[in-house]
């Protein structure tokens, strides 16, 4: 199936965002918006950060840049100079959306803030992604993934009890916040159909990281639970239960909790173990009809943990996941990119795409974040090259690379 226009075809986005906003522009571009990445003349900071493709330190080879700026065209503008500012405003007059991640007030100090933008283009939407939001007592605070996750409750509850709270080593707040920003842009676009006016959309990364604790923050007022770190375990009912289990060659995720939906998987697991002669009489004697993880004692949990743990130790992650798929065991391997790129399921769905990066070769990417008839979500072009972006900035005010270009990607297999 060839790639279609996408739902946001014709929506023009000027993307001034640094790393915290890369993902917002990428998902809008993958949905079909015409996203133009506006970089300073020296290039975005992320271009100077490794890892670099092939280990070659080069502004065109930063893998962070290449990963999260797909489906964007590029140009450079010196927003600290009058000419650059005027060019930006001229472009903004014809844009639907401006996306930015500057400190609150920083664009306004250069005469490019919401009031100016709104005066020049009543329909334009300005979306600002910042650590703590545009106003308030901490609006002027510096922040980054580590510090916004720290102030969300999520960090305190992640990690081992005998060590410091710990974050995911990639910046999940930028993905959460980027999605929230893209949703905010679309809500503002829908509202504009009625009002005819754009809005300033203010996204706080801190606030975006509260919901990922799945309601636990609000529940504090009902249960008094401040959160605690239990490592590879989870609190469930009155007990602490293992979630991440060592096996022969790695780790798997498996749980005893989960209500009635979990029970068929537990029954199937015991049957699987029994086929290998590793289900004890006591394990086989459990009455699963009356099983309720909330009523287990820690002694019950420790017994089950010993039984399942001893079995997992004899199996590889691949064996266990194959059995999980065939027998509905509700168990999953702790995957690295090696297992992910080798997944038959992802291959069958044509998830990975090979993206041609001009002058550098082809690189395999995770493809669309959702599947629709006609591939309406897709990587539409590689991340922009700094050399091309500079070239179009020096030609004329409206010159950005052509919106249409030959297909940049080829699915590794057919996708729907």
């Amino acid at each position: 199936m060839t790639q279609s226009d996408g739902d946001l075809s014709g929506i023009r986005v000027l993307d001034l965002a640094a790393e915290p906003g890369f993902f917002a522009g990428k998902v809008l571009g993958d949905l079909g918006a015409d996203v133009v990445k506006v970089e300073p003349p020296e290039g975005d900071r992320a271009r100077r950060r490794g890892p670099f493709w092939g280990g070659v330190v080069d502004a065109e080879r930063s893998l962070l840049w290449l990963a999260l700026n797909t489906s964007k065209r590029g140009m450079t503008l010196a927003l600290d100079r009058p000419r650059g500012r005027e060019l930006f405003l001229a472009l903004a007059e014809r844009a639907d959306v401006v996306l930015e991640t500057e400190a609150p007030g920083s664009l306004a100090a250069r005469g490019l803030g919401w009031e100016t933008l709104h005066a020049r283009n009543r329909r334009a939407i300005l979306c600002s992604i910042t650590p703590f939001g545009q106003t308030g007592p901490r609006a002027a605070w510096r922040g980054s993934d580590l510090t916004v996750v720290a102030t969300s409750g999520n960090l305190y509850a992640t990690g081992d009890p005998d060590r410091a709270p710990v974050r995911c080593s990639l910046p999940v707040s930028y993905y959460h916040g980027g999605l929230e920003a893209a949703v905010g842009v679309l809500f503002a676009l829908l509202a504009r159909d009625q009002s005819g006016e754009g809005q300033h959309v203010d996204v706080s990364l801190q606030a975006a990281m509260v919901m990922p604790s799945i309601g636990t923050a609000a529940m504090f007022r009902m249960n008094g639970q401040r959160g605690s770190r239990v490592g590879a375990f989870m609190h469930a009912g009155r007990t602490i239960q293992r979630e991440i289990w060592p096996c022969r060659d790695g780790f798997v995720s498996f749980a005893l909790r989960g209500g009635p939906a979990r029970v068929p998987g537990l029954i199937a697991m015991v049957a699987y173990m029994d086929e290998h002669g590793m289900a004890s009489a006591r394990l086989k004697a459990i009455d699963w009809k009356s099983y309720n993880h909330n009523l287990l004692t820690q002694e019950d949990v420790d017994f089950l943990t010993r039984e399942f743990g001893a079995f997992f130790a004899t199996k590889t992650t691949a064996e266990l996941y194959r059995a999980a798929c065939e027998r509905s065991l509700m168990l999953a391997p702790v995957n690295t990119p090696r297992e992910i790129t080798g997944s038959p399921q992802l291959a069958a769905r044509g998830f990975f795409v090979d993206v041609e990066n001009p002058g550098r070769g082809t690189l395999r990417y995770p493809g669309a974040f959702a599947v629709t008839h006609g591939a309406r979500v897709a990587i539409r072009r590689p991340a922009p090259r700094l050399s091309s972006s500079r070239a179009c900035a020096s030609s004329s005010s409206a010159a950005v690379p052509p919106a249409r270009s030959p297909p940049a990607t080829s699915p590794t297999t057919a996708r729907r």
Binding site: L179, A191, D202, P212, S213, I214, R221, Q345, F369
Partner: protein
């Protein structure tokens, strides 16, 4: 927002912590309550043809349909996209599960704990010398709803402009992998597997979480990120230029990386005697990126979340007054609205069927007596 529910097979969160003594039973789940405000609930028995017929009429009347059953379940009821679109040509519908609607492992059942592991988040979270952990809260369970909201909004934008609907297949594992594109590309480009590194960063040193003075018997911590050499000079100044910070080798990020253990020990000596709030305020005043680590109780005293009115209060029949969260977006001309608490199971069956489908009271009585309405 109308939730179509079942009393015989209640929602996962309604029964996750249910015991025989839970006040309110399936209506007494705090977890369900904090995640489902602003919704109406209708209870149908989908094992009866008349129940399915009502669900079908609701789907045809709705602006969009969202479901996360195992692939094939909707088709067995005749409620899948292909069936519904025949009556509603501009239908917008999203189906979401872990592995997606197609492929050999589409039927694989799992929760967010499995999604997080499959997508690669667990491998990247924790300490390099220890087993991996999940980011608290099974992260694909929080990313996927945001992807779903984005996709539905885009589909509605598109339908307004063209009149065309669509069916969206959101595989939660795939969407999570797209977030981690940097890790995937590092492998496909260089064969290198990025792994968990505690709180350290490949680009910034020091970058960590440091023990502060205990308060009320609780462990307290501060997060500090020194992004570049200029930040390092600011940090040295904020500490009062103690001798160890003046070592020339520490002036560059490469030098600091070689002495990262020692820097972390020294910094902890400084933070350990101070409160987390003082550490953060002092370092922010010096222009640094630092913050107190807040637990779930602290969030209710957080001045910035209070300024944004992140939490709003609702009055729940069983649970009483309790907070719920708003989203993280603030608009210059729209305000987030929390208009009602999470519904009791089936609380709105009559009003929804009457107002949306025009079903009369006598017919509602008949359907209830027949067990179609639960």
């Amino acid at each position: 927002m109308i939730r179509v529910e079942s009393r015989r097979r209640p929602d996962f969160l309604r029964i996750l912590r249910l015991t025989p003594t839970t006040p309110g039973g399936v209506d007494g789940s705090a977890h369900f309550a904090v995640l489902n405000p602003n919704k109406l609930s209708i209870a149908l028995d989908l094992s009866r043809p008349e129940g399915v017929a009502l669900a079908r009429r609701l789907a045809i009347a709705a602006d969009a349909v969202a479901e996360n059953f195992a692939p094939g379940a909707m088709a067995r009821w005749g409620l899948d996209y292909e069936s519904l679109v025949r009556e509603r040509p501009d239908l917008v519908m999203i189906s979401t599960c872990l592995n997606g609607q197609t492929g050999p492992d589409r039927a694989y059942p799992g929760f967010g704990g499995q999604g997080s592991a499959l997508a690669g988040f667990n491998h990247l979270t924790g300490w390099p010398d220890r087993e991996p952990v999940g980011p608290f809260g099974t992260i694909t369970d929080s990313l996927s709803p945001r992807f779903a909201a984005l996709l539905l909004a885009a589909a509605l934008v598109h339908r307004r402009r063209t009149g065309a609907g669509q069916h969206i297949d959101l595989a939660q594992v795939e969407a999570g992998i797209v977030c981690l594109s940097e890790s995937l590309l590092t492998y496909t480009a260089n064969g290198e597997i990025l792994t968990r590194m505690g709180n350290r960063s490949r680009h910034a040193v020091p970058h960590g979480v440091f023990r502060c003075a205990d308060e009320d018997g609780r462990d307290r911590w501060a997060a500090i990120a020194v992004h570049d050499d200029e930040d390092w000079r600011r940090l040295a100044g904020a500490l009062g230029h103690p001798a160890w910070t003046l070592e020339p080798v520490l002036a560059t990020v490469d030098g600091r990386r070689r002495h990262e253990d020692e820097i972390e020990t020294r910094l902890t000596e400084w933070t350990a005697t101070r409160t987390a709030a003082d550490v953060a305020a002092h370092l922010q005043a010096a222009g640094l990126d630092a913050a107190p680590v807040e637990d779930f109780g602290d969030l209710h005293d957080d001045p910035q979340l209070a300024h944004r009115r992140h939490f709003r209060t609702v009055e729940h029949d069983v649970l009483g007054t309790h907070p719920v969260e708003t989203h993280a977006i603030r608009f210059s001309a729209m305000e987030p609205r929390i208009e009602r608490p999470a519904p009791r199971l089936g609380a709105d069956t009559d009003v929804v069927l009457r107002e949306l489908l025009g079903i009369e009271a006598a017919e509602l009585d008949r359907l209830r007596a027949a067990g179609v309405l639960e």
